[in-house]
Symmetry: C2
Amino acid sequence: MIPDEGLRVAVIGGGAGGMATASRIKRLKPRWVVDVFEKTNYVSHAPCGIPFYLSGIVESVDDLCAYDVNYFRERRGVSVHINSEVVEVRDGEIEVVERGKRKTYEWDRLVFATGARGKGLDIECKDIEGVVCVGSIEEAPLVRERARKYGRIVVVGSGYIGVEIADALSRGKKITVIEQGSHPLPSYDQEIAEVLMRFMSRKVDLRINERVVELEGDERIKKVVTDKKEYKADLVIVAVGVEPNVELARDFGAKIGKTGAIKVNEYLETNIHGVYAVGDCAETRNVITGKPDWIPLAAPANKMGYVAGSNIAGNKIQFPGALRCQLTSFYDMEIGKVGLSEREALKNGFDAVSVTITSRSRASYIPGGGNITIKMVADSESRRVLGVQAIGAGVAKRIYASTALLYKKSDVYDFFFTDFPFYPPKSPVWDPLVIAARNLFRKLDIT
Amino acid sequence: MIPDEGLRVAVIGGGAGGMATASRIKRLKPRWVVDVFEKTNYVSHAPCGIPFYLSGIVESVDDLCAYDVNYFRERRGVSVHINSEVVEVRDGEIEVVERGKRKTYEWDRLVFATGARGKGLDIECKDIEGVVCVGSIEEAPLVRERARKYGRIVVVGSGYIGVEIADALSRGKKITVIEQGSHPLPSYDQEIAEVLMRFMSRKVDLRINERVVELEGDERIKKVVTDKKEYKADLVIVAVGVEPNVELARDFGAKIGKTGAIKVNEYLETNIHGVYAVGDCAETRNVITGKPDWIPLAAPANKMGYVAGSNIAGNKIQFPGALRCQLTSFYDMEIGKVGLSEREALKNGFDAVSVTITSRSRASYIPGGGNITIKMVADSESRRVLGVQAIGAGVAKRIYASTALLYKKSDVYDFFFTDFPFYPPKSPVWDPLVIAARNLFRKLDIT
């Protein structure tokens, strides 16, 4: 048992995972001291909100933070240090540059919540003005200002963030999106991504199978050069993915997993006793494959914080892993995925089969209702459903339901027999998920 | 094994359950003869669509039928007999009044798909013009015509259909809704229903705790008299629930269950070999209680048809039961329920605990997003979640997810750990379902 007073916890990073950990510890152990060290001015920030700030839906960058520093200090009793960069971790103490001054703090328990950072391009471009990486809330105001001012914008990458930024910035002007792969949203299978691609091409200048090889300009960016063409540019937004911040942890001796993120056990403890890792810097378990995976998303980050905080405070809760569940949209087209694509399933050794269906999202007699296209992937031996991808209208509720069923390791019968409601304005009597499952019966030789 | 040709199946009733059964048999056994006998002019009709016809969203009553008679005859090879009322069932044959003529048809397998009918009031009112029961698609055009013509409309009952009709007819005029219980949607608990009640009272003259004792009028309705007041009326719509049509089945010797519907086993066969029952006339199993229940809803009716049809054709599929999952809305307020209310849970012998939370339905920084109120009921011993009720914004996806989790017999940990997506315009980082589950932890002494 841990004594009820006197323990001191240091949390490195004030994003979702870090603040959730700190809050949970203070709730269970109000008398412990919990220090959070955050490099920027912001805590509990949500980079996922940046596209909505760029589009102007969200007015101020402060609004992107669920709670501010004072809330955590006053209401939750967390000692938040902003503008405080941890520069070294040692046994029982850390060294911090806090508002420019070097300081040392002691810890009995340590939490790495150092998050992830936007990856750069594999080319030299560091010093050119007008080339930005999204992902940092601090840079967002500058990006918005420039996006409003300049005409020629090039977005490099079309993962979730790339697609959302393309949506946000293409409302008023024609922008160019350059994707190295064969379709936007590279983690999706072709059948779903091509529905997006057709629609997206009407709104932006979408270039697929093109790789950026050079960014030209002296002081300011002038041109993006790919292996096929050149594009004049006033602003280049690089959104080619993220990578975990693991340097501090590695230097302290924490094991790094194959995924490149910090290795933790089911209690979210690293290989070093009393040292935990949560959120985008930590590895987790993929619920479908059962293997270690890196899933840098805000929802699991918060739950990891809850679990790590509970365990640090003396409980014993396992984190069951995550499903990499994501929703997005492009204009009024909703897009979502949970679990594995067919390509990912095959790569993971499953004997995968799939169906892709297009169906009405609600009763056919309700006018104006759109279609939804669903791809469902199953393992042909166990008949377990491995993943669901969807695009069109009414995607969110099908992704929610699929997430629940995948979490519970459901098979195609479960998808067929789950008693989804019939409500004409929202869902047809045979739900698209049920139709997809029924079509999978045939591929699985179920009569 | 059943021989592959020569079998003749009679299906009594051409609604969702009957047509699904017939279609499934013809798919598996194309050479069998499948006769469907339907009393009205319509097959595959969806009474759930009537409110949208009354509101004018759906223009023609024909649109409410998913497929028409010719589709089933020509594309699916089903022998559909419309305007054909079965008047007697005998061993191996049935007697039908088909377009006015008495005829006899033979059968090797028989399916009762006789549906349900709107209940009347327990008072005499049969012969007064201007008093109608909803639920019959054939009467709908007359109801719509009158509702447009007359000013003073009284709806008796405020279950799903009552609420939807009140929504449909109150857009242009002030109508009165009379409910005998203490709130609209009597199957909901007070905490959720009162949110609806507050909003509904602004749109209609809602009278609760009032019982209709008399309908006054000579030839035409003039007045609705309750145990408290009188209401002048030009049109009275009675929506006080439905009851199963079991007379033909009972007369033939089929067992009727405690619920009043036709008793079937897990293969949907009645106590008589080769005789099945599906849809609103049949009993089913409640997935939460495990007990027989009567759940007259279109989505399970269709799946019962699929299962009975498969079994008649020689397969052996069990119908797992239903969850009584329903969605509705009143103006822009969505409402849904799956599983048991707290009251129903207690009545079924569970040691039920519950929480009711109100939370943002999407990220707080996205403007215009509404609140959702969720009540979650759990069994304090097993920690299994027994039911979820919700009202407000973004209800459909939470009810979909809850349905999936309840189908898989999930507990509060599952609700907490299911990896719901964070997508600012659609869902906050802590989903309301996750918040509700977390709050239940405390009531269940989980730290």
